[in-house]
């Protein structure tokens, strides 16, 4: 395809091994340009098309740009350092000029006119003798032109296409949903892989890398639907399945045994940790004599600036597809570096580079390195293993944890003034980053995971100012966690140091910061940029921080300038950018709002002014987010952020107003603009904060916590703002109710003592009950249809199926584990299987079990089986249930033995328990109440056994009765709230709300059934309306006349101090619980201030919901909530629970 066609004019370059084509003009007049770089979402495709269309005088619509496919494009290295326009576009411009010259020569012959009189316009060659299209000129005569780097090109003054705003060519397809991103590619026969990464998330060096997988249990998952294979090579582990969801389910179910890695260094004191790593000092500038110069200064200062780890944070987690293709693999990839990736893959699977073809598709923007290359290795290994094309989609967590981070950086500066001028300046910069070896190579041990230093810490390392004595040093070092270049690379942190320090020196010299900079600059082009930016950006000269205040807000303006220098030191200059920015600082919370950014930029020739402005806007918004909010956190062994919850980005409400000024320099070469406007960001914002507050921020990000610490604002003990409205009462132990699974756990020893003492008195006196001999149950046909229907309703009302079905197990065959403080019980098999179920139970045996908790063989059942309620059932209902159970599908399933702690493991103790707690008297009808009420009471107290969950229990695990009945309890980590007594009234329950809730699972705006109760309500669908109404009537009748409690108003009440937990809430919870659009169909249905879990007596129930989420039964209208156990640490969950309770239920205990 890329070679010379019969009818085409091409431009090529010989590389020694093969011929690379840059341009091809076909006989239909269309031009294809090949560039080895890729479009990282910046619209570079459009700018390249403009460049070749300009040189060739072709309509833009006749130009197609092919980016990054290894089979077709030249190897021009990775798409980094904003080089595409500045460097890799150059051959395209020259080649296009060559083709134009060839066309002019041909037209001269065809039109019989001197070449000098041929004009090329819009794909045609014209002369006084007529015109001919390019297509006609190509027809019948192929030509291959060797690229001539000296070919004459157009004068910029003649440009008609370059320099004009041109709409992006890829956008219409993207807006219509037709653009095929790498995520959208499908290949015939494709199956799906899902990787299982090691526990050393984000680490790449150490002898544990590639040596930590101890084993896995394939047999445990090989029967799962869609299973194809588990593939392992050293620490590379993945599953392959027919479908994407199946691959993920299998991977998550696969039992894997990993060796735990050693701890990371202490990452909280980042600067010390980084400085302590092995490093090699490299001198970059030793002008003058720094030691002498600094001694001569009349004012000296030493400062340290710290930059955090960042995520590139592609919005789409990486994807790749590989087809082994009989040993000549094809990889579909969103890589930033097609040719580099191809070399890595060749090494991974022992092939020659030429045997591998990479087809590049656009991916989500990456701003440096993301996991696109890693996932390519994953897909290729899997495709080779299973012999089918395999697509691998990384999860958000995998992308977050494993992407090579934007590196942290430490800058130590020392410098000083002599007579008001900069006289000496030293900078030592530590940049723990490299080029991020492909993860597949490391996991499979193809590459040894040893520390690999690199040399990219020196970008813009030399300050632009005239300073007589300089000592500029970069400390080249290996990464601590996996890291690679990110937008602005080391130039952004280096400039943070330069431009903060220079700003500080200006004020020390009592000079305006802009004047001070200009006094130290000689380059006229730089001076022009700074002067014009200050003027047009509304710079307000000053010689001291102004500390402008209005109420609690302080306002300030900052300035910074940088030329982004990229490539190997001393490097090449890209565009120069200057910021004037305004901030508003909340002096009580420490929040910094960046309100306006004015960017002046000098990029030489502008190819597409719209494209340049969009790059500036993107740089400003993204970098402001990095400077103000972003920071990768760490645990002992790994990086931690695994979703946006713990790595929030700036939102639409936080991004600044942006103004731009492009300096017109049509005669100067085009300079890269992909990163330049990012580089001054941190210093400009820090300088603005200084103007507003007089406080110097030297460690990013400038979070409210850091600002408060710097400004000396101390948070109160309860985490609220000084002077905020309400005051939450502290949790009080005395106010917590007894719970099965909370409080009792801590009382285990006392309980054993109590039971032990009782046991010695009388346990042996209580015999095991007699066995009732097995008999064949009556045949199903002997029961009437009405009886069975009644039995079905009793079964549903009793919620029997939920407890007697194990997760993923056969319905009603038992096996659900019930963990109690006394041990673990397994529910029994209710199906009529003769050996393991109820098939040989007589009605008499069944009734005894229901009423007295005694099994057919005479042993006592544990009171987790709610016979204390069932004993109140009518004979008719028990018979109907018995009949119904005998018609279930029989399933052979042995019930596992209970594993109880002493002395509860002695079944006779149950008999004692019964003697103390079990009242088997049936419910007596209340003659003064209506039939409805009596029916409701029966359903609530007998069949429905509501008290089993909703009544608190005493120390021996018995339900409390009387006034304490149904007043709320914690069950399996879920809170079963009060449905009787003052608390239920205060909560707002009413007959209508009970009815709606029990009937549909949702009392509009009030309560939604979730957790175990959602299953109960789903089962209640089997009951007629009258029964539901009856339950509501009964429950409501018992409500005391207590007014509904006032709800917390989170907007008016306690405003939480902005901190990390607040940000978790805003990015992970608010999307559904405080939705931006009220109509959001996946939003929560109940306000958080209504939530029973949040208003429950302690944090436990809320933490359960946060961990597990909510899976609403399909039978109900309820909505799901994702669980966060995998995204948040236990500490974060606890903090979040406390935060939510303080914000939405401050009046709760």
């Amino acid at each position: 395809m890329s070679g010379t066609r019969a009818e085409a004019i091409t431009v090529y370059r010989e590389t020694g091994t093969h011929r690379e084509t840059f341009l091809r003009l076909d006989a239909d007049g269309s031009l294809t340009a090949f560039n080895g770089h890729v479009d990282l979402g910046t619209g570079i495709e459009t700018a390249l098309a403009q460049i070749v269309a300009e040189e060739l005088d072709l309509p833009l619509g006749q130009v197609r740009v092919v980016l990054g496919d290894t089979a077709h494009t030249p190897n021009q290295g990775p798409t980094i350092a904003s080089e595409t326009i500045q460097i890799t576009a150059v051959p395209l411009r020259h080649g296009a000029a060559q083709i134009r010259a060839e066309l002019v020569a041909r037209a001269a012959l065809r039109l019989n006119a001197p070449a000098g009189e041929i004009e090329t316009i819009e794909g045609e060659a014209r002369s006084a003798n007529g015109s001919v299209t390019y297509g006609e000129l190509v027809s019948g005569e192929a030509a291959a032109l060797a690229l001539d780097p000296g070919a004459p090109v157009k004068a910029p003054g003649d440009y008609r296409i370059v320099g004009r705003p041109v709409p992006r060519v890829d956008l219409p397809g993207k807006a219509l949903g037709r653009h095929v991103y790498i995520h959208d590619v499908t290949v015939p026969g494709m199956v799906h892989g899902h990787v299982v990464r090691p526990p050393y998330h984000g680490r790449e060096a150490g002898d544990f890398v590639g040596h930590s997988l101890l084993g896995y249990d394939e047999a445990a998952v090989s029967a799962m639907p869609g299973f194809i294979a588990v593939v392992r090579e050293a620490d590379f582990l993945a599953v392959v399945a027919e479908r994407e969801d199946q691959a993920r389910a299998i991977a998550e179910a696969l039992p894997v045994d990993w060796r735990m890695p050693p701890d990371l260094p202490e990452m909280r004191s980042l600067a010390d940790t980084i400085r302590c790593q092995p490093a090699t000092a490299r001198a970059c500038d030793r002008s003058g004599d720094f030691a002498r110069g600094i001694d001569e200064c009349d004012l000296r200062a030493a400062r340290t600036y710290v930059w955090p780890y960042h995520l590139h944070g592609s919005i789409g987690p990486s994807v790749s597809i590989a087809d082994w293709n009989g040993g000549r693999p094809i990889l579909w990839s969103g890589t930033q570096n097609p040719h580099m990736l191809r070399a890595d893959l060749a090494r991974l699977v022992d092939l020659a580079e030429e045997d591998i073809e990479i087809r590049r598709h656009q991916a989500a923007g990456c701003y440096g390195r993301n996991c696109a290359d890693d996932v390519g290795a994953d897909a290729l290994l899997l495709a080779r293993a299973v012999g089918r094309p395999v697509r691998v989609q990384l999860t958000r967590a995998q992308e977050h944890l494993w992407e090579p981070k934007g590196a942290a950086q430490v800058m130590d500066v020392e410098g000083g003034l002599l007579g008001g001028d900069l006289h000496a300046y030293s900078l030592d910069t530590w940049y723990p980053s490299n080029r991020a070896t492909n993860l597949g190579l490391l996991l499979t041990r193809r590459v040894i995971a040893e520390p690999r230093p690199s040399d990219m810490g020196d970008r813009t390392i030399v300050p632009p100012y005239r300073i007589p004595h300089k000592a500029i040093t970069v400390h080249d070092m290996a990464p601590i966690v996996r890291a690679a270049w990110m937008r602005g690379v080391s130039a952004l942190p280096n400039t943070f140091a330069h431009e903060s320090f220079v700003d500080e020196m200006a004020y020390e010299a009592r000079q305006d910061p802009v004047d001070f900079r200009l006094r130290h600059l000689d380059d006229p082009r730089t001076r022009t940029l700074i002067l014009r930016t200050a003027e047009e950006g509304g710079w307000e000269p000053r010689t001291a921080p102004r500390r402008r205040r209005e109420g609690r807000m302080a306002y300030g303006q900052g300035f910074a300038y940088a030329t982004y220098v990229h490539g190997t030191f001393p490097g090449t200059a890209a565009a120069a950018a200057t910021w004037v920015c305004d901030v508003a600082v909340d002096m009580e919370t420490g929040e910094v709002q960046l309100t306006r950014v004015f960017v002046g930029q000098d990029q030489g020739l502008v190819i597409n002014p719209d494209g340049v402005r969009h790059q500036i806007h993107g740089n400003v918004n993204q970098t402001a987010s990095r400077v103000l909010k972003e920071e990768v956190s760490f645990e002992e062994i790994t990086v931690t952020p695994s979703s946006w919850a713990t790595y929030p980005l700036a939102t639409f409400e936080e991004v600044p107003r942006i103004e731009t000024m492009l300096v017109e320099r049509a005669e100067d070469p085009a300079l890269g603009v992909g990163e330049s406007a990012a580089v001054p960001a941190a210093a400009a914002i820090a300088n603005a904060i200084f103007d507003a507050t007089g406080v110097r921020m030297r460690e990013a990000p400038f979070t409210p916590e850091r600002m408060r610490a710097a400004m000396g604002i101390h948070r109160r003990e309860d985490g609220r703002l000084q002077g905020s409205a309400d005051h939450a009462p502290r949790l009080s132990g005395a106010m917590k109710p007894a719970t099965w699974f909370g409080r009792l756990r801590s009382k285990g020893i006392g309980l054993a003592a109590v039971l032990g003492g009782t046991l010695s008195l009388g346990a042996l006196a209580l015999p095991i009950q007699r066995a009732i001999p097995p008999t064949s149950a009556p045949p199903a046909s002997s029961f009437s249809a009405e009886l069975l229907e009644k039995g079905r309703q009793v079964f549903a009302a009793g919620n029997c199926g939920d407890c007697h079905t194990a997760p993923g197990g056969a319905p009603n065959a038992g096996g659900l584990e019930i963990v109690t403080p006394y041990g673990t019980i397994h529910t029994t098999n209710l199906t009529p299987d003769p050996e393991t179920g109820l098939g040989r139970w007589s009605l008499e045996a069944f009734e005894r079990a229901m009423r007295h908790g005694i099994s057919r063989d005479g042993t006592h059942l544990y009171p987790a089986f709610p016979y204390t309620s069932f004993s109140k059932m009518t004979d008719d209902d028990i018979f109907a249930l018995y009949a119904y159970l005998q018609t279930l599908e029989p399933v052979a399933r042995e019930t596992a033995r209970a594993e109880m702690v002493f002395p509860a493991n002695l079944r006779p103790v149950n008999a004692l328990w019964n003697a103390l707690h079990h009242d088997s008297a049936p419910i007596e009808r209340h003659p003064a109440r209506g039939a409805d009420w009596n029916r409701g009471r029966y359903l609530v107290e007998a069949t429905g056994h509501c008290s089993a969950c909703h009544s608190p229990r005493n120390l021996l695990g018995a339900e409390k009765t009387g006034k304490a009945a149904l007043t709320g309890s914690l069950v399996k980590g879920w809170y079963a709230p009060a449905i009787a007594g003052d608390a239920a009234s205060a909560f707002g329950w009413s007959e209508e709300r009970y009815y709606a809730y029990l009937r549909t699972g949702l009392a509009e705006g009030f309560a939604s059934a979730s957790g175990p109760m959602a299953d109960v309500v789903a089962n209640l669908k089997a009951l007629p309306d009258e029964d539901i109404r009856a339950m509501a009537t009964y429950l409501a009748s018992a409500l005391p006349n207590v007014p509904e409690a006032r709800l917390a108003d989170p907007a008016a009440a306690a405003r939480p101090m902005p901190d990390a937990t607040h940000r978790i809430f805003e990015s992970a919870c608010a999307t559904c619980h405080e939705p931006a659009l009220a109509s959001l169909a996946t939003a929560a249905t109940i306000p958080l201030s209504r939530s029973a879990a949040i208003r429950s007596p302690d944090d436990e129930a809320l933490k359960t919901v946060i961990r597990q989420g909510i899976e609403a039964p399909l039978a109900l209208a309820g909505r799901d909530m994702p669980g966060f156990a995998g995204e948040l640490t236990e500490g974060q969950i606890a903090d979040l629970a406390a935060y939510v309770r303080m914000r939405y239920a401050p009046a709760s205990p």
Binding site: G177, E244, A249, Q622, F652, T1082
Partner: protein, 166 residues
């Protein structure tokens, strides 16, 4: 447990067999129905890339199980255009270059349609607020806000309501 759900997608009725009731609508749309306009971004309703409309309301398809879509009218990015004529919101995003990489664009467009259904003439502050739970990493916020403002104008001028024609 296998079940079948029926719903309409972009005006067409579909029946999907679900051998696993946990499958998300996003997964079914992309993998079973070939509708790749909605994108997987986070799986936790945090970024908005997967937004679709169900019964005219915006929904984050990554946390909505397909089984829950029974009987609903689902509209994806692909279902907005009238043949080759883009929906005014799509047109506005193209004209104002409301995307860089464009991965979040689906969520921005679908959320904009929902916003303009509720509020046909939003202020800039209202636009920013309505999009505050849609993440854009390229920093295209300014162009996106301009696109929404233009979309509102185009829709008012053309008399389009909501998602329009379907």
């Amino acid at each position: 447990m296998s079940l079948s759900v029926e719903f309409s997608v972009n005006g067409r009725s579909v029946a999907v067999g679900l051998d696993d009731p946990r499958r998300t609508l996003l997964d079914v749309l992309r993998n079973d129905l070939g509708l790749t306009g909605p994108k997987y971004g986070c799986g936790l309703a945090q970024c908005g890339s997967c937004t679709v409309l169900v019964d005219e309301a915006p929904a984050r398809a990554c946390v909505l199980r397909a089984a829950k879509a029974e009987g609903m009218r689902v509209v994806t990015l692909e279902g907005l255009a009238d043949g080759e004529v883009p929906h005014p919101v799509q047109q506005a995003f193209v004209e104002e270059t409301g995307a860089q990489c464009g991965y979040c664009l689906n969520g921005m467009i679908m959320t904009t349609i929902a916003l303009l259904t509720e509020n046909p003439d939003p202020s800039e502050a209202e636009i920013r607020s309505a999009l505050r739970h849609n993440l854009c990493r390229c920093g295209t916020h300014r162009e996106i806000v301009a696109s929404v403002a233009k979309a509102a104008r185009l829709m008012r001028e053309s008399g389009t309501r909501g998602r329009g024609r379907i």
